[in-house]
């Protein structure tokens, strides 16, 4: 099919852009033949908007031509977190701001200091000697200053084991999420950015002070308890009896859990889609599962519950009734 057939000479500015993009893409893939060059010329003469779009195309091409490939690849392709992550971390800014000013948040990417991919976990020592574990698909930015040791949880879940400050002065240790802050009171705890617009906190040792962005006062949470909070308030805490989070041992523990909830949890550790057929959503299961082999976990489900695992592709898995 010739290019001309694919190009419709419409006059709306949207389609002019689309057409200019098509010409650029074509010219970039191979050199144009004489007939196509003539066609492009005719296209440019079509209107002032056409010619302007083409000038912009040439400018774009010149920019790329003026950059040595290796340097361009290193600088422009540098690893950065995605826009969504930055927006999340900056939600603190948008909070309570007049809605119209959300447009201010044209946030480009900012580096995350520590990051894990889906299914990955990582343990790191922080500059002050505190320990940080990242659960699957998590990102953290470090903002240590003279006044405090601040971790910004960009996404995912972390386990923090703090030590008294080694820098000679006792700086506070604070985890900031998009909903508020969790201040360590010499302690071990997890913070998780929950998908439903809340942050979850679980304390394993000592205590933390939780303060939602919009709250005037902090709420103390002691070891053996967990709670959720959003930007405005803290929700009632519940008891847990774990010494440390199961994921930090590479395990997923369920106790009489609904299958749908279990699969939602498991899907955090697997790339792709993991769905639960509503017909089996209410089945219950208990067990300790190894996170390093989620395919094996799915297999086990078929052995213990009346379910079957349907795989359309490796990345699209549905658990259905057997």
């Amino acid at each position: 099919m010739s290019r001309s057939a694919a190009l419709k000479h419409a006059s709306g500015s949207e389609s002019v852009l689309d057409e200019a993009a098509s010409w650029l893409a074509l010219a970039q893939q191979r050199s144009l033949d004489a007939r196509e060059v003539a066609e492009l010329d005719a296209w440019r003469r079509h209107s002032e908007a056409h010619e302007k779009a083409w000038q912009a195309a040439l400018e774009l091409q010149r920019m790329f031509d003026g950059v040595p490939a290796e340097i361009g690849a290193e600088v422009l392709g540098r690893h950065r977190t995605d826009r969504r992550a930055v927006l999340k971390s900056l939600v603190a800014l948008a909070f309570a701001a007049p809605a119209g000013y959300a447009a201010w948040l044209h946030a480009p990417r900012v580096t995350a200091d520590y990051r894990t991919a889906v299914g990955e976990r990582d343990d790191v020592a922080l500059p002050d000697g505190s320990r940080l574990s990242l659960n699957t698909a998590s990102a953290v930015r470090l903002e240590y200053s003279a006044e405090e040791r601040r971790l910004v949880l960009v996404e995912g879940e972390i386990l923090v084991s703090t030590v008294p400050d080694s820098a000679g002065h006792s700086r506070a240790f604070v985890v900031q999420t998009r909903h508020g802050t969790v201040r360590a009171l010499g302690t071990r705890f997890t913070v998780r950015d929950l998908d439903d617009g809340r942050t979850g906190v679980t304390v394993f040792e000592h205590a933390v002070a939780v303060r939602p962005l919009g709250a005037a006062q902090a709420h103390r949470l002691d070891a053996g308890r967990r709670l959720d909070f959003d930007g405005q308030q803290v929700f009632p805490s519940t008891v847990h009896d774990e010494a440390r989070p199961a994921w930090s041992r590479g395990q997923l523990v369920s106790r009489n859990q609904r299958l749908e909830d279990f699969l939602a949890e498991l899907s955090r550790y697997r790339p792709g889609l993991l769905r639960c057929d509503p017909a089996v959503a209410e089945l219950r299961l208990s067990g300790v599962f190894q996170l390093d082999d989620t395919d094996r976990v799915l297999e086990l489900l078929g052995e213990t519950l009346p379910v079957r695992v349907e795989r359309r592709t490796p990345f699209w898995v549905t658990v259905v009734a057997r």
């Binding site: 689309d18 993009a21 650029l24 003026g66 950059v67 340097i71 361009g72 422009l76 701001a97 201010w104």
Partner: protein, 174 residues
């Protein structure tokens, strides 16, 4: 006539008051994020300049939460500053490791950095996979089939990515 003068003065007074009330807080907030008092002072200044530029609008609709407002403006400047700093760091690192850089004059480097900065802003509008495919094609000169293999997507998807990238860059340049 008089009311207009009064309200203008009101506007100035409001900004002066905002400056007096929140300047210290804002520069502290910025400093805790930047760790550098000089840059924090610059960004604080820039934030108030932007507030002044919008004084007409603010006069008509006074702020109920001035700190939230200041934080949004300062946040935009902060993000921009961090992006530029990030870019410069990557640029310096690239210069240090790339033989192509040795022959460049200081001026050429400056021009290259400015070009990269412009491109970075353009590419910033693209989603991560689109950006990746675009860079592979534009900088490495890879064919769509090769990009498709490396990214684990179909060639048609790569084509779609490229079309989208070109389109968004052009829209930004116009």
């Amino acid at each position: 006539m008089n009311t207009r003068v009064d309200s203008l003065q009101d506007g100035h007074a409001a900004i002066e008051r905002a400056y007096a009330d929140h300047h210290g807080w804002l520069s502290g907030w910025l400093q805790s994020r930047l760790g550098c008092p000089d840059v924090a002072a610059d960004l604080t200044q820039d934030t108030f300049l932007r507030v002044i530029a919008r004084r007409e609008e603010l006069r008509r609709a006074p702020l109920r939460q001035p700190r939230a407002f200041l934080r949004v403006i300062a946040g935009g400047l902060l993000v921009d500053h961090l992006r530029r700093r990030d870019l410069e760091r990557a640029f310096l690192a690239a210069l240090a490791t790339q033989p192509a850089a040795e022959a460049m004059s200081a001026e050429e480097r400056e021009i290259l950095l400015e070009t990269l900065d412009r491109m970075d802003l353009l590419l910033d509008r693209l989603s991560a996979p689109v950006r990746k495919a675009f860079l592979m094609s534009q900088l490495d000169g890879l064919r769509y089939a090769c990009i498709a293999r490396q990214m684990g997507v179909s060639e048609r998807t790569v084509k779609r990515y490229m079309q989208q990238a070109y389109r968004q860059c052009l829209a930004a340049l116009l």
